[in-house]
């Protein structure tokens, strides 16, 4: 039997893939590998020495590090929970309202709600610090107008409220993103499906729960994973509003701020890039784990509908 004619090597695939692969490798893969490598070394007498998992042993074994780490992780989980419980349901609700054909000025609302998303963290952090300031802020006065002055406390300065307050500020800033994604998903539901539902007598709320919601579930899944990745990488808002020490008493310390202090140091504390890299590696693993759970357990079970 004659050998099959040898197919020419398809160079164009390599050529077309090359730019993306090279750029992605240079700005993503290499730094990531560098971080992982850095976390296995220690600086001893100005020389980088390979120490295996010593940094991780220290991160989890030394109470000076482990207490801060678990505290940051716990806070980060709470930060995520608030986003999942508040930001995403509100996002879905807003999208449902916006897609209602009877709503007037919907373009205006859409823009207004989305605008905070494009604001800088610095502006958002500073503006909310001023709004909530017990001395100059408008919050105490506004609450006084409706007779709720007694409920006002300096939220950003109290251990028990500060993290929740910051989470809600972050929700305020980013609620536009789930809203937009869900809105797009709702608009892409074909009219025939809705009409068929109406013929079957499913209207109003029932229509949303039984027809629309199942159809937008994949989008909600995507939003959840985006929220997860975003929250566990968060840093900016806490840093601008509470500073690198994430006060009061580390109650708003999340993995991002913890990493920052370890890596770059703060005030008299000298930065320790190796421990910082170890924390960054843990963040990477946590996010990787979360994304894998989503990909393999959740996404495969989501039913997709082809129209």
């Amino acid at each position: 039997m004659a050998a099959a004619p040898k197919r020419p090597f398809r160079w164009h695939i390599v050529v077309f893939l090359a730019p993306a692969v090279l750029v992605y490798t240079a700005i993503m893969i290499l730094p990531l590998a560098g971080t992982l490598q850095l976390s296995l070394f220690r600086n001893i007498d100005q020389v980088q020495v390979f120490v295996g998992f010593e940094n991780f042993r220290r991160l989890f074994g030394d109470p000076n590090w482990s207490v801060s780490f678990w505290n940051a992780l716990r806070n980060n989980v709470w930060f995520f929970i608030i986003h999942m419980l508040v930001q995403n349901p509100i996002g879905v609700l807003l999208a449902a309202l916006l897609s209602s054909p009877r709503l007037r000025f919907s373009a205006f609302y859409r823009t207004a709600i989305f605008v905070p998303t494009i604001l800088s963290f610095v502006i958002v952090g500073f503006a909310w610090k001023l709004i909530l300031s017990p001395i100059w802020g408008v919050a105490p006065n506004l609450m006084d107008l409706v007779g709720l002055k007694s409920l006002f406390t300096p939220w950003l300065g109290k251990e028990e409220y500060a993290l929740t307050t910051l989470s809600l500020i972050s929700v305020w800033q980013f609620v536009g993103i789930p809203m937009m994604l869900i809105y797009a998903a709702l608009l892409s539901i074909p009219d025939e499906v809705i009409e068929a539902a109406e013929c079957d007598g499913i209207t109003g709320m029932a229509q949303f729960w039984k027809i629309k919601l199942p159809l937008i579930l994949p989008s909600i899944g995507i939003i959840s994973i985006l929220t997860f990745v975003g929250n566990f990488n968060a840093f900016d808002l806490i840093y601008t509003a509470q500073g690198a020490l994430a006060g009061p008493n580390y109650s708003t310390d999340i993995l991002g701020t913890f990493l920052y202090r370890a890596f770059f140091g703060f005030q008299l504390q000298v930065g320790d890039p190796n421990m910082g890299a170890a924390i960054a590696t843990m963040m990477f693993l946590i996010i990787l784990g979360g994304v894998c759970v989503y990909l393999f357990l959740v996404q495969t079970r989501l039913r997709r509908y082809q129209f």
């Binding site: 909530l132 017990p134 300096p154 300065g157 020490l245 009061p248 005030q267 008299l268 504390q269 320790d272």
Partner: protein, 419 residues
Amino acid sequence: MTTKLLTALLLGTSILGSAGMAYAQDVTLNIESWRGDDLAIWKDKLIPAFEAKNPGIKVVFAPSAPTEYDAALGAKLAAGSAGDLITCRPFDKSLELFKKGNLADLSALPGMENFSDVAKAAWQTDDGKATFCVPMASVIHGFIYNKDAFDQLGIKVPTTNEEFYAALDKIKADGTYIPMAMGTKDLWEAATMGYQNIGPNYWKGEEGRLALIKGEQKLTDPQWVEPFKELAKWKPYLGDGFEAQTYPDSQNLFTLGRAAIYPAGSWEIGLFNTQAQFKMGAFPPPVPKAGDTCYISDHTDIGMGLNAASKNADAAKTFLTWVASPDFATIYANALPGFFSLNNTPVKMEDPLAQEFVSWRDKCKPTIRSTYQILGRGTPNLENETWVESANVINGTVTPEAAAKKLQDGLDSWYKPAK
């Protein structure tokens, strides 16, 4: 054609070169600094004063941004392009430069004898044998008060703790003013203007600070817990919502005349003079009992050293000796009220508030902040933890004893005092 051009170029450079020669009679010294704010003072006051006395030496002040200074300086030193004179950060940052051989040993510099051991501590090796920067200025802690408010309420300036709290009670009862302008949001206010401000009276300044470094005292000893207990008593006298009050908030509360007492550092003087519309006075941290020796935090903040690789070391040393002289101190301290010369010779200052601050040096014993020298090195960092715990104590979320224990435990985890 090309030969002609080349000749012309060569000729040009040789002329320029010889023109340079004419100037090169003068030695030019470059100063590295992070104090861009002081550029005008250096250019208009300090450098002309020096050049008038030392013809033949030209000085150029070349600051970089504070946040970039350490990195930029490190890179320049490594490349050999750093200036002859280097403005020194206190403690470890400069010590590291000295250990690397970037800063020259100045122990024998004429003029060094004008400074006390406390003043030099920030720029000495741990054993105190070598000094590598000339101390330039320090900041003093105390309390600034609204004189009009005190007069109106008939309050005398407090000298003891008892009088201090009596004054605060009176202001609070009257209700016109917030008794004390301080917030815990930024954390460092509580530590720097609280703990380090009143603390030296309890741990007896240098005595306690050095004993702590030697390991003879612990942060859980009564003299170190006592300041926390005092801080815990401050809570009722702070403004509404002080937990979320930031440092600029506190400054504004005081300069707008809404608060009567401001736990301060002397660096505020310049700003407060331009902003406050009322008369201000200052008093040192009150002592526990009448007749006790008073201690003040006179924290060394800025110095100047010599680049070990400088080609003009002799001229640079002349300059440093001048920096160590009372002449320099007088100009500097008057140009920047609140940054006090560390020179032993008393400096005549015009600003009354600055005069008040510096007068405490005569009756009180100076010390520096306890968490800086040697103890400010490790992780968990004592200084940073002191910020957090001081704020906690004032917020009332942690007891003074628990805060002290946390600090000592953190310190024990990395610091083993030499026995």
